[in-house]
């Protein structure tokens, strides 16, 4: 049985002081249900997650105590991807006909504040100043630039694109395009990445209604089909955050293994993808993920960005809604926002940022600590 997405809902990312994280999640669910022309009572199951916004299954207090199977998912940055993967299996296996995927969050301002013991590390690691994700991102792209000839100009181009696309996205947090000079001159955070090259923790919610493909048209005239949903964790040797040491050989990242599996399962290849969402926690991540997901060779990003190949009117539009850079990262909702944007693009409802030519196949990729990646491939 194939799996369809028949309802999408988003509570705008950024800051909503008047609403709790849970309320933002409920708003997203209501929007997705309305989009699918159905109601919460019709949902047979739900998978949901939030890092800092409360237990996802508490949403029933706001949406109705209907007795559905509600499973909380906690998988870091891949929480949304893991929820969708679980829902995919629930429909694919014909256990259920229709259900809900939801993610939301509400993080404190400023950088995340991880604690060593939560990551299997000892206190010295944090006390001596090594427990910062920003350092890892800086070091990873530093080595990548050295190995593959990526220039600082390419870092700036990715940021420029993100804020330009964000300015075209009504639900985005950062809606002001930034000039080359503004990005170039921003305060340095962690060499070679500066303030405008990083995304920030944020708030927001996102929800999807999924169902069996043979009943999809009951809910929506233009269902989007979820061809595959894959989640992978790191292999020995993959260069990941919070690693006091790394083995001699650098292994493929979980992005590579998830992407390879997803293309194989979906029966399509990178050249078939018309629009993509690639995890852009910072600009280096988007650059590396272009190659790790198989869209270009390592080093070709230099030319791709210079030619605008990942712009909305380029050969492979990437992060058409501004990605994490323009939307911020409410961890529980972020991966689902990517799927939301691809559904909107494949339906042809993306307004000013619509990719031309009726895109047929879309791709989403999430990546996060401690080395986990989720890939979804979607078609009209």
């Amino acid at each position: 049985m194939d799996v369809a997405i028949v309802g999408v809902g988003l509570h705008p990312f950024g800051r909503t002081a008047s609403m709790s994280g849970l309320e933002q999640g409920a708003a997203a669910v209501r929007a997705a249900l309305a989009d699918a022309g159905t109601d919460f009572k019709a949902m047979q199951f739900a998978f949901g997650g939030s890092q800092d916004g409360g237990n996802a299954d508490s949403l029933v207090n706001l949406l109705g105590l209907t007795g559905l199977q509600f499973t909380n998912v906690a998988n870091g940055c891949a929480t949304g991807g893991s929820s969708l993967n679980a829902a995919y299996s629930a429909i694919k296996s014909e256990q259920y006909d229709v259900g809900l995927v939801v993610g939301f969050d509400k993080h404190a301002r400023g950088a995340f504040n991880p604690q060593p013991k939560d990551w299997g590390l000892e206190d010295w690691y944090g006390e001596t100043g090594l427990m910062l994700t920003t350092q890892y991102f800086g070091m990873k792209i530093q080595r990548y630039m050295h190995d593959h000839g990526i220039s600082r100009d390419t870092l700036i181009r990715v940021a420029e694109k993100a804020y330009r696309n964000g300015s075209l996205t009504p639900t985005a947090w950062r809606r002001t395009a930034l000039s080359w000079e503004e990005i170039d001159n921003a305060p340095m955070v962690s060499e070679p990445l500066n303030k405008y090259m990083f995304c920030s923790p944020a708030e927001g919610g996102c929800a999807l209604v999924v169902c069996r493909s043979d009943i999809a048209h009951r809910f929506h005239p233009r269902p989007i089909y979820l061809k595959t949903a894959v989640v992978r964790s790191r292999n020995y040797g993959s260069f990941e955050v919070f690693s006091p040491s790394q083995p001699p050989e650098v292994a493929d990242s979980p992005t590579v293994t998830a992407s390879t599996a997803a293309f194989e399962l979906a029966g399509v290849g990178p050249s078939d993808i018309d629009v993509a969402q690639l995890q852009d926690t910072e600009v280096g991540a988007e650059i590396m993920h272009m190659a790790e997901n198989g869209f270009c060779a390592h080093g070709d990003q230099e030319r791709w960005l210079a030619e605008g190949a990942t712009d909305i009117n380029g050969k492979l539009p990437v992060n058409t809604d501004g990605g994490c850079l323009a939307n911020g990262e409410p961890v529980g909702a972020s991966g689902l926002r990517q799927v939301h944007e691809i559904c909107v693009q494949l339906r042809g409802e993306a307004g000013e940022r619509q990719v031309a030519g009726e895109p047929q196949v879309g791709y989403t990729h999430v990546y996060g600590a401690p080395g986990i990646s989720g890939v979804n491939i979607l078609t009209r």
């Binding site: 060593p116 001596t128 100043g129 090594l130 350092q135 060499e191 040491s245 790394q246």
Partner: protein
């Protein structure tokens, strides 16, 4: 009587730091780890032994911590006295890459592949006035 001692036991040889970092080696597959681990990340074996990793290597990648980190960072610095520090991975003779603070803290001082050596720095004083030490790496040749 105050003294200098490691912030955390078992990361480097003490009181003879010249022998460098202490990690572990797997007797089944030969892979190294730092800090030492009782089980092997590569092959799941629990047949590991402590291993001296030495005090020299080359810089594999680097960044600079330009602002004072929040807790759990715990030094005697204040935002006013904070000095930016480098962070990098040092590729050791056994091939293992160890993450470390770096003495160098400007882009001009840091290049991938440069020779590095270990030294000890004071993280903070405890209530008894003891100097608590950790390792960091610095350029093996002083720049001029």
């Amino acid at each position: 009587m105050s003294e200098a001692k490691p912030l955390h036991e078992g990361l480097f040889n003490w009181p003879d730091p010249a022998a460098g970092l202490i990690g572990s080696r797997c007797l089944d597959c030969g892979e190294h780890a730092f800090p030492s681990q009782s089980s092997c990340r590569a092959c799941s074996s629990q047949n590991t032994v402590l291993a001296d990793l030495g005090s020299a290597g080359t810089l594999w990648t680097w960044t600079i911590q330009s602002f004072m980190p929040k807790a759990p960072y715990d030094t005697d610095e204040t935002p006013e006295t904070f000095t930016p520090y480098g962070v990098g991975y040092i590729e050791l003779a056994c091939g293992l890459k160890v993450e470390s603070r770096l003495r160098e803290n400007t882009p001009e001082q840091l290049n991938i592949g440069m020779p590095m050596k270990m030294e000890l720095i004071t993280v903070r004083q405890n209530e008894d006035g003891d100097e608590l030490l950790t390792f960091q790496f610095c350029a093996a040749k002083e720049s001029h």
